[in-house]
């Protein structure tokens, strides 16, 4: 009897161990935490890719929205989760790194285990179409006197990129912070501001209608949806960019075998024609980023954000 029971324990332990090492992963539904409210950009991208991930993972993907404190609450809970791969998180990187610098935070983005990222976005310098026609004209005006520039979200990637960019060009501006880009884009269209920096998708409708004019895209590649807009390299300017990625990560210390399964499923999902079609309609710039490249991006971004730490705390 005793030997049988012992055998049972050994067998169970063996099964558990193999489970933990990913041999039969995933054996139950995977929870995908979205660090924003249902319906926003992060949420719609997560909901767009989830059905395709289900297809390649062979398990259902359950989305849970945890938008509190810009995602901070979700990140803090995530740091302490069991690293079994059954709960993963999606957000706009490097939002979490910025939160770490803003105040006390009970998590470290560099501890999370990157899985995959599928899209990137870049910031755009936009002016009212009744003002400057080219970036050179804008630069001249901005050097003559400080212009009023709108930024969305103090401490956001838009905010940081705007400050870094204008610093690189040697421009000083009167920064006017807004909660989101809808506010700053509206104020620019109404000529209350001289320029604004925002994601291309936030301004594209008014650009198409000829009300706003994009002057420069802060990226090392042109945006396929607005191919005429120059990038700093076209103007002979060398700049460092903060990459803005939408992707998915696992809790700290998740085993490599589990990550491999998840990364494969997400990579295949992002290559599905139906997903690419949806992304095109929303003007999402798709760019597959592997777990290794994602980890590199995380490591790279810390010193860049640290450079503007004083600005964030000002």
């Amino acid at each position: 009897m005793r030997t049988l029971r012992l055998l049972g324990i050994v067998l169970t332990a063996g099964l558990l161990a193999s489970g933990a090492y990913g041999a039969d992963f995933p054996a139950k539904p995977v929870k995908l935490i979205v660090t924003a409210a249902a319906g926003g950009g992060e949420d719609t991208e997560a909901r767009a890719i989830a059905p395709f991930v289900e297809k390649h993972l062979g398990q259902s993907v359950v989305i849970e929205n945890q938008p509190g404190a810009g995602g901070k609450i979700a990140f803090e809970k995530f740091q302490k989760l069991e690293p079994d791969g059954y709960t993963v998180i999606t957000y706009t990187f490097p939002k979490s790194v910025i939160i770490e610098y803003q105040g006390k935070a009970g998590f470290r983005t560099r501890d999370f285990t990157p899985i995959f990222a599928w899209s990137r976005s870049s910031q755009l310098l936009v002016v009212n179409s009744e003002s400057w026609r080219t970036f050179d004209e804008f630069l001249k005006a901005a050097r003559a006197k400080p212009l009023a520039g709108g930024l969305s979200g103090r401490g956001s990637t838009t905010d940081l990129m705007g400050r870094i960019a204008l610093d690189d060009f040697g421009i000083k501006a009167n920064w006017v912070p807004y909660e989101g880009s809808a506010g700053s884009v509206a104020a620019l269209a109404g000529k209350h501001l001289d320029f604004t920096i925002c994601l291309a998708t936030s301004a594209v409708n008014l650009i198409r209608a000829g009300r706003l004019r994009p002057l420069l895209l802060f990226s090392d590649k042109r945006d396929p949806y607005i191919p005429d807009v120059p990038i700093p390299a076209d103007l002979g300017q060398k700049m460092t960019f903060i990459p803005t990625l939408r992707g998915v990560e696992a809790p700290p210390k998740t085993p490599a075998a589990v990550i491999k399964v998840l990364e494969d499923a997400f990579t295949k999902a992002a290559a599905e024609p139906a997903f690419i079609e949806t992304a095109k309609k929303r003007q999402i710039v798709l760019q597959p980023v592997s777990s290794k490249e994602f980890a590199q991006a995380v490591a790279d971004v810390y010193p860049r954000i640290a450079r503007f730490q004083d600005v964030l705390k000002q």
């Binding site: 249902a38 059905p51 009167n174 269209a189 198409r208």
Partner: protein
Amino acid sequence: MDVVQHALLFVLQWQNLAALAGGTLCGILVGVLPGLGPSAGMALALPLVIKWHPATALIFLGALYKCSNYGGSITAILVNTPGDASNAATLLDGYPMCQQGRGGVALGLSATSAMVGGTIGMICLIVAAPPLAEFALKFGPAEYFLTALLALSIIAAVVQGATIKGLISAGLGLLLSTVGFDVITGQLRYTFDWAPLEDGIPLIQALVGLFAVTQAFVLAQSNESISRIARLSGGFWEGVLTYFRHPAAIVRASTIGLLVGVLPAVGQSSAGLLAWAEAKRSSRHPEKFGHGSTEGVLASETATNACMPGDLVCTIALGIPGSLGAAIFLGVMIIFGVAPGPLVFTEKADIIYALFVALVLTSFLLFVIGMLFARRLAVITLLPNEVIVPMILVVSLLGSFAIRNEMADVLISLAFGALGYVMLKGGFTPIPLLLGLVLGEMVETNYHRALMISGGSYTIFYDSIISKVLIALTVLSLAGPYLGPFWKTLTQGEK
């Protein structure tokens, strides 16, 4: 007109009518469930409609978006729990009406408000969206600051009679509005390192506490039912008839609602509150407000329903969303290949006008649904307290939790429930607190933005014509209560 006729014929096809009815019902359901707002509703429904014809899908989601408000008014009236922040002002008079056994009348009022307010708003959207959007763009930070001041000045009218207690309540609201992440400086204020407060005091959670939880405490003390008399008096149609006896109030409330909706930076939740306060100011029976005034329900609901189409003005004509719900609707339009912006009225005229016609029709459909179902719901106000109190607490706290999937929000609601109870016992009204909470950030951030743009010069606050008009209105609103008697003395002599 050709294009509208075309759109009408398109909407009358069976699949579009079905989408319209389905969207309307889903919208009401989403509104009834606290914690599930139009934004989450649209996000959840999107996979269902993604393969449909773009116009049909937009009709479904548009109806869902527009009708959620009405659903929220039902719970606000019957159980004092707002479905969404925009229904806050409805419970001020709707619930007291239930206590007097007149829940059916209140539901008739809110259904009629949804029909009339929604239709007026939609007509303005259809005929004047581009000029209204241009008007909204003229509002910069200085104008928004002055608009918020004007709105705050209405508190003066609300607190008449109990000025000191009213001002204490308003001050508390303004103080609470400073909690959380400060957009201008990027600092966290008064959060005591507690993350759930970093977004500021969450509005719906606070409302659930101030009204539903407080009410549950009050009900738990007595051995009665919500309706203090054992039978219901007056029905749905009495509410409908009462509604049309106040044409001037309807026009005022729709105008306020529409303007709040059109201006992207003015929070939607303030539409009902402002219309309610303005109705109280101009009413012949201001003392009845807050104690079951039919005019109060009328003003709040008419404004809220006119606000939704107003919100779509800038969303569709410029591609600039004025609220979270509008932002999601904008995203949905893009997915279906209807990119909003000034060009949409020519490029995608067929789809846009079909959507508009459908949204007008849903206003009438709402009324019919209200007539069929909502009035029967009034019976729940006769349920004994030992049944209804646990129900209110469960539903409202569940809603509070569901918004962010956050247990801390339940604590916030309970804390506001305790605050509401203390205020009630002390004779304080929560309305000024709500107005302060809703408008505080708008006043503060836009004041800073205006000065940042002008480089510190105060002339920005009175340069434009809009600013001058807003200043004049604010002065009038503050001095009005004193000018009236003064004018009487001048013309009729001392009594």
